[in-house]
């Protein structure tokens, strides 16, 4: 049964990219466990505004787990303590009455803080721009039986395509590595006939961009996979490694 709970929040406040941040504590009373985590933050912000204080800045958009805008490192986990969900899908029933909740922004050199809990994730877009596309117009959606694709490949590509580019992988990684994201974006294309043509070039271009932007070297800790809201598997990283090594050996 959902109850109304009282909670204590410790939230990271930082006025700008260059400013020093700090934690601020807030108490909230009577939060319905049926509300979502972001709704709880909305309530907090209303409270702050009514007290004449600056509301907390945080990213969000669809609030249904598909856009990848929401972030937040909650009690030591990107997207909070639940598995395979985004922060917007996190409910307050995951927390008990009297809970202390620490909310931090993604902390990774590749994702500098813009303000409070909002970080700049443009780096991921730049990696996509470097090669995460098919160069020619492949037309509309073909009939499902026009190009036969093995079921296994179709499923793997679909699993990779589930990536919403939220950045939890790099945020969770002690090496600040973006490999899970890059491998998902490479796999979703290179497993399919339209994307296969440019597979080698794509892997090289996206890895080069990823390195240039200062993301770290993957040491296969698997933290990314554990924290990914879409359950993207590190088997995609093995595929990316394979593709990258093959491409360089062929050069």
């Amino acid at each position: 049964m959902d109850k109304d709970i009282n909670i204590k929040l410790k939230v990271w406040r930082q006025r700008g990219p260059k400013e020093r941040g700090h934690f601020e504590s807030y108490s909230l009373k009577g939060i319905s466990q049926g509300s979502s985590f972001l709704e709880m933050l909305d309530v907090l912000n209303e409270q702050l505004v009514s007290e004449g204080k600056e509301p907390i800045t945080f990213d969000h958009d669809c609030r249904e787990g598909i856009c990848g805008m929401c972030s937040l490192y909650i009690n030591g986990h990107p997207h909070g303590p639940d598995t395979e969900i985004t922060t917007c899908q996190l409910h307050m029933r995951k927390f008990e009455d009297g809970a202390e909740i620490t909310v931090e922004p993604w902390r990774s050199a590749g994702f500098p803080v813009i303000r409070d809990l909002m970080v700049d994730r443009y780096a991921y877009d730049k990696i996509i721009q470097a090669g995460g596309f098919v160069s020619v117009n492949t037309g509309g959606v073909p009939d499902a039986n026009a190009i036969p694709i093995p079921k296994r490949d179709a499923e793997e590509a679909m699993d990779a395509a589930a990536c919403i580019g939220c950045g939890a992988c790099a945020a969770a990684c002690k090496n600040g590595s973006a490999m899970l994201f890059v491998s998902a974006k490479v796999s979703q294309l290179s497993l399919l006939p339209q994307g296969k043509v440019e597979a080698a070039r794509r892997a090289q271009a996206m890895i080069a961009k990823m390195d240039e932007l200062g993301f770290g070297n993957c040491t296969n800790t698997r933290a990314c996979e554990a924290e990914c809201p879409k359950g993207v598997s590190i088997s995609h990283i093995a595929r990316l490694n394979r593709e990258f090594i093959k491409a360089n050996l062929a050069d």
Binding site: K10, G21, F23, Y73, N75, G76, H77, T102, E104, R107, S108, A109, G110, V113, A172, K174, N175, G176, S177, I207, A208, M210, D211, G214, F215, G216, N217, C218, T219, N220, T221, R222, A223, E225, A226, E227, S233, I234, S235, I237, A238, R239, L240, N241, R242, E243, F244, I245, N248, D251
Partner: protein
């Protein structure tokens, strides 16, 4: 050169040097096991290797492989710290499927390296190195021991409890390093997928346990032998 200029390339170097070191450990283990069965056979190997040109070449290649592994470890770890950035999480929690070793490979490597120095001081320095600078006998613990009389070195050192304990700690550190290292190395070179990752993990635990358990067995064998004699 992509092996040095790209993150994946550097990881490939790390992986190959690591696998090379594991292969050496298997070879080393085979020699140690020989000592359990026959001191003569073991000393024959020691003489065969001694400070011959092929043993020296082997040692140089091995040292090279180790050096590469160390340099890359420093480089990758430093880069990864940079990539992580200067602000740390106030609260962090290790997810269930993330092994402690996987996040502490550098520190574990340093521990392995530290005990390796002890091992060198005890064995290599008195055997190959002594021979290289022209000795055929060295004084160890008040006795003269021939530089190729490996069995006597083993008997001497492994009769000391502190040495035995130090070596056992070393093997535990090595085990921790290898239980992440081997499957990670295979994943790095792309030899893994959804199915094989679990198989490699099983193989990794078997190989790591075989190596470290094997070394541990030989060490304890000689300690117990020294107690009985």
């Amino acid at each position: 050169m992509w092996l040095l200029n790209s993150s994946v390339g550097r990881k490939v170097v790390m992986s190959l040097s690591g696998v090379f070191l594991i292969l050496f450990l298997l070879f080393h283990l085979a020699m140690n096991i020989t000592a359990v069965f026959s001191a003569e056979a073991y000393n024959m190997i020691c003489e065969l290797l001694g400070s011959n040109w092929y043993a020296l070449l082997g040692t140089a290649v091995l040292a090279g492989g180790f050096g590469v592994h160390m340099v890359m470890a420093l480089w990758l770890t430093w880069q990864n710290l940079q990539a992580r950035g200067s602000s740390r999480y106030a609260v962090s929690d290790r997810p269930k499927n993330v092994s402690w070793s996987s996040q502490n490979m550098f520190v574990i490597g340093l521990v392995v390296c530290g005990f390796l120095l002890l091992h060198f001081a005890q064995f290599w320095y008195h055997m190959m190195f002594a021979e290289l600078i022209g000795y055929h006998e060295v004084e160890v613990g008040g006795k003269m021991i021939g530089t190729t009389d490996g069995a006597s070195f083993i008997n001497y050192y492994f009769s000391h409890l502190w040495v035995v304990i130090a070596y056992l700690i070393w093997y535990v550190a090595l085990w921790l390093h290898l239980t992440h290292g081997l499957w990670s190395a295979l994943q790095t070179v792309g030899l893994s997928n959804r199915i094989w990752i679990n198989r490699w993990k099983v193989i990794t635990y078997v190989v790591a346990t075989l190596i470290c358990g094997g070394f541990g067995f030989v060490t304890l064998f000689f300690y117990i032998k020294s107690l009985l004699s």
